[in-house]
Symmetry: C2
Subunit: 300 residues, 2 copies
């Protein structure tokens, strides 16, 4: 979750469906978040689940996850990062979930995969969208106030020049005195109708906001890391019960973060050692009743 | 849900717990949303559920909902709108839910009530927080851009005065040339640490943002009403499947809005006719085995 929080929300078009996406592909794990701003879906899959689903969808597949996961990542990642692809992925909605079905080719045979994304827990929606968006709004509102103040100072400077008899060489350079309230009312009357013409809310999450999102979430994370190294007084349980701090999903989040160790270097080393062996023989826990056939790459 | 969307998120302190709250109390129904920005909880109760819980919590209570609901609203509303009270409400968290227990006095006897708020559906969090906050960020970002542009024009005017030999009578009025990138970097380096000192994220949802929230949600609603009266081309199902539009919670929302009719004038009239009768006699469907005692107001 920690890793995913740092990722930007990328606008993607998967087979014509406009969504925002965040994803994280590890060695043999992935975590996906999708939103159309009306709901947020996620799927988090680890090695064992991926292997199980791959075998259900590809009956003849007997390879361990590592053997086909890099292929899956390669095919899917462009679609989930908005850098192309996705035409071979079909998107359907069932019972409030989003399913993405993929058909590709691996070792000369068809390879099927399905993502089953279900509505994300509210705590995830809060940490990935609500809190960053509120912090962004807060910072932007402060900027608007500051810039209004700066405009006031410019006007004072201009007024002083004028009162001392200065004139403009080009009249078109003259500006109106900035009046914050008038400006805001005028802005809102023009800008609110623009929200209507945006068919997809997600299109509002554009370049400038993406940058700000990144700044806010990286800052929040560096703060969290710092706090976990040397807990500050504010975060320590005090004599007065600070129920607000213990409420909600913060504990859920940190627990979940421990579960997903997508870049675990140790696992990388261990897996590599067993990879070759697993590739060429069926796993011991799934003995085949049929007589052994000639191996076809990853499939049997 | 429609009614609740229009309400602002109010900062409340219920027995020392800092939350943002939205609530809607009807004749014999209520709908509450609470958030600490780490999770969002809700409870929606209608007449029959309220009557059942009231009788479970107050064994001797035999009054219909209308008879005690106005008392409940009066006691609870100040706490849920941040206008005082809340000291007689205890807040606890259990299994990710928030319970608020209230003890007050009604007709000379103790009256107990409990709110059982559970995590809200993701679609509710999206409509009540994510979409408005994104629209707000979008609008504020546009304002920052526009104000930056205005500052550039002020600088051009000032430069023209200066080039024509104008000088300031008071040197302190002189401003630096506005440079958007420098300003933003400077602002972020100073403002991001301020986010740290805010112990509660919800404190960021201050006056200016509240106003903007109201503008955005009222606008979204008037737009929705208009569309349902005369559907525009963009919202109609076209030949090309517009899956994005049909995805997510929009349908859930409109369905839920129909369920909650908090200000139904018809119900008001009908209930008033039966009120007196119900108040003075135990309901027929709950015959008492005990010998009848003298009635104590709303209780028996």
């Amino acid at each position: 979750m920690e890793v995913l929080l740092q990722r930007p929300w990328l606008p993607v078009s998967i087979n014509g469906v406009q969504l925002l996406s965040k994803s994280c592909f590890g060695e043999t794990e992935y975590h996906i978040l999708l939103t159309d701003m009306k709901c947020v879906w996620e799927e988090r899959m680890e090695s064992a689940d991926i292997e199980k689903r791959a075998q259900e969808l590809n009956r003849r597949l007997r390879a361990p996850v590592k053997a086909f996961f890099s292929h899956l990542s390669e095919v899917v990642r462009p679609a989930l990062t908005g850098s192309g692809g996705g035409t071979n992925i079909s998107v359907t909605q069932e019972d409030g979930n989003i399913n993405m079905k993929l058909k590709s080719e691996l070792a000369g045979l068809p390879f099927y995969w399905e993502f089953h994304c279900t509505p994300a827990p509210v705590t995830v929606v809060c940490s990935q969208l609500v809190r960053p968006l509120l912090a962004m709004s807060f910072l932007l509102q402060r900027q608007v106030e500051q810039l209004g103040g700066l405009l006031g100072r410019k006007d004072a400077e201009i007024q002083d020049y004028r009162e001392n008899g200065a004139t403009l060489s080009r009249e078109r350079l003259q500006t109106e005195v900035f009046e914050e309230r008038t400006y805001r009312e005028n802005f809102m009357s023009k800008a609110l109708p623009l929200l209507v013409s945006d068919q997809s809310d997600s299109l509002q999450f554009d370049g400038g906001l993406q940058q700000l999102y990144s700044a806010v979430v990286s800052h929040g994370n560096s703060r969290k890391r710092k706090l976990s190294e040397e807990p500050s007084v504010e975060e320590m349980p005090a004599d007065e019960p600070d129920i607000t701090y213990s409420l909600g999903g913060s504990k859920v989040d940190s627990g979940a973060a421990e579960e997903v160790q997508l870049e675990a270097a140790g696992a990388k080393m261990a897996d590599r050692a067993t990879e070759k062996k697993s590739l060429s023989s069926a796993p011991a826990e799934r003995p085949s009743a049929k007589p052994k056939k000639k191996k076809v790459g990853l499939f049997r």
